[in-house]
């Protein structure tokens, strides 16, 4: 391991994330991890890492970093301007950087979260099986917190690329998205049932973060006598809960239990799109059955596996 970057300016919410912390959910430790797992994985593949290596997740605006060693980096996810020593560079491709280089990642023009991967992966201590930062639990990442000015970021060891890599099919992050979701058994607690929910458009609220996205839209009224909340039970990322105020929330990766009535669950492959939605964006939901969801999951996994082989020609 070696020093990789000096943080000149961290951006508003930059954390170290990997695939997540899966083994302690029964103890109240949420999975955390990169919110857009697709962009995160591609970033790692572009610099020759395994997809489990940690990367930086930057929100709204990127970081300014000074390189402390030679390495390959790749920036993926939200469309942020990337400059190395003032010279514009493309995202979704590997870039060789050298000691003293200044890497500047700007504000997102589309999308919300960008990922920076580096040769060998970001090196922070493994905490309970993961390097992911869980800020509310002060766990993982760099001292369990968001990055600060003057932090030193280390990287693991890994071979530099013999030839540059790029990813041609860059996802678009439009300001209006459709998310596929499985209606919940409790959807009929609400007036109009699942149909009312799936027929509505919602706006992403400003209080949206890695824990959950608050949606503003038509109030989802409960049927007379329907319970407002229930006994807390395990929740998964993608669960759409409706608190008593009738405004839906998409739960993400920083909560293990929830007690509000669930109306639907966003399918896992579509959570990457939630990660790139920003306040003000419009969200629609489309119903799918569990069978359809699993077919989509299968295709999505195959697609990523294929990308991995295409991007890592040597392996």
């Amino acid at each position: 391991m070696m020093d990789a970057f000096l943080v000149v300016s961290p951006g508003p919410y930059t954390t170290v994330q990997d695939r997540g912390r899966f083994d302690y959910q029964h103890m109240g430790i949420p999975v955390s991890g990169a919110l857009d797992s697709f962009a995160f994985r591609i970033a790692n593949l572009l610099v020759g890492n395994c997809t489990g290596c940690a990367a930086l997740e930057m929100t709204f605006t990127g970081a300014r970093l000074e390189a402390l060693c030679e390495a390959d980096i790749a920036v993926t996810g939200a469309e942020m301007t990337l400059k190395v020593n003032g010279k514009p560079e493309a995202c979704w491709k590997s870039i060789r950087i050298h000691r003293g280089d200044i890497i500047r990642i700007g504000t997102a023009r589309s999308g919300c979260r960008a990922y920076l991967a580096v040769t060998g992966g970001i090196d922070v201590p493994m905490v309970m099986g993961s390097r992911s930062t869980y800020v509310a639990g002060r766990l993982g990442g760099l001292e369990g917190r968001i990055l600060n000015e003057r932090d030193i970021i280390k990287r693991g060891s890994g071979a530099l690329l013999s030839s540059p890599r790029s990813f041609p099919s860059i996802p678009l992050y439009p300001p209006e998205i459709w998310l596929r979701a499985i209606p919940d058994d409790h959807a009929d607690y609400f007036v109009g049932g699942a149909e009312g929910f799936f027929g509505s458009a919602f706006t992403v609220g400003v209080q949206s973060d890695r824990m959950g996205y608050r949606l503003q839209g038509p109030e989802l009224f409960r049927e007379e006598g329907a319970p407002k909340s229930m006994i807390s039970e395990p929740v998964m990322p993608g669960a759409v809960q409706v608190p008593p105020n009738g405004q839906a929330v998409i739960l993400l990766c920083e909560q293990t239990l929830g007690g509000y009535t669930k109306i639907a669950s966003v399918i896992s492959p579509d959570l990457d799109r939630v990660a790139q939605a920003k306040p003000g964006d419009v969200v629609h939901f489309a119903p799918v059955t569990l069978n359809e969801a699993h077919a989509i999951y299968r295709d999505h996994t195959r697609y990523i596996a294929k990308l991995a082989t295409l991007l890592s020609p040597s392996k």
Binding site: I182, I231, P234, A293
Partner: protein, 258 residues
């Protein structure tokens, strides 16, 4: 398609009938009931209420499932009345998973659930550690000393772990201690604080915001990710509170490794 679709449509119709007028059935269920919890989790319900028998069933089944390490199962997350079984749909179909779980339920009877650990948690009640102890006493028309007596008497059952890392929701609080939450949650509750919310009690493992009425504090560290076992107690344990003095509080705190 037919098989799985039919199974779940039967299930959801059944649930709808049961819920007519939103009257829920009583605990515990003879067999687990299944609910879809998104594309990667199956919820197995063992009852509708916060109830000791139901919760014991949940915990026993979570133990069995964790020990079994079924192919394609990634996590077992128990809570008050149900278990979330997180699975990889590419490795196990939801119907296979349901069948395997139903099969494992047969072991309920053969097992000995008596070997439970009792975790003793020393608590310094009142003073600056428990600023709400007088409120709890007044609210229930008892003396602060009775709050301590009543709170240290029972062996508490851990119903669920969540909210923050290692936060154990404890049931079995004496009726004379039931107290509503604060109207305005505190922005910061010190780690180790012991609180009451309605019929529940618990210890804050981390300094976090919180709305529970605080009656004392433990010098022990409930959660430390750097320890080999990061958690002092978990869902399989029972909890007993022991009253200590300020001197003992300081002693325990000082004797702990930094």
């Amino acid at each position: 398609m037919g098989d799985i679709g039919e199974f779940f449509s039967f299930l959801s119709q059944y649930m709808r009938v049961m819920r007519r007028g939103f009257v829920l059935r009583k605990n515990p269920y003879q067999k687990g009931r299944f609910r879809i919890n998104g594309d990667r989790s199956l919820l197995v319900d063992y009852g509708d209420d916060i109830d000791l028998t139901t919760n014991r069933k949940v915990k026993r089944m979570a133990e069995i499932l964790s020990g079994e390490r079924l192919k394609g199962v990634q996590a077992i997350i128990p809570s008050y009345r149900n278990i979330s079984v997180v699975y990889n749909p590419l490795e196990i179909s939801v119907l296979e998973l349901r069948d395997q779980i139903l099969l494992l339920e047969d072991r309920f009877d053969q097992t000995d659930a008596s070997v439970r650990r009792v975790v003793e948690i020393p608590v310094c009640y009142g003073k600056e550690f428990g600023p709400d102890i007088d409120f709890v006493a007044d609210y229930n028309h008892i003396r602060p000393d009775d709050v301590i007596l009543l709170h240290t008497a029972p062996l508490y059952n851990v119903f669920a772990v969540g909210f923050t890392p290692g936060f154990c929701y404890l049931g079995g609080l004496h009726k004379r201690l039931h107290t509503p939450r604060l109207d305005n949650p505190r922005l910061s509750v010190p780690a180790g604080s012991v609180g009451i919310a309605e019929n529940q009690t618990g210890v804050y493992p981390l300094e976090t915001p919180g709305g529970w009425r605080l009656i004392g504090r433990t010098p022990l560290t409930l959660f430390n990710p750097d320890r080999p076992d990061p958690f002092l107690c978990g869902i399989a344990d029972s909890i007993k509170f022991v009253a200590i003095s300020v001197e003992e509080f300081d002693q325990i705190r000082q004797s702990k490794a930094p």
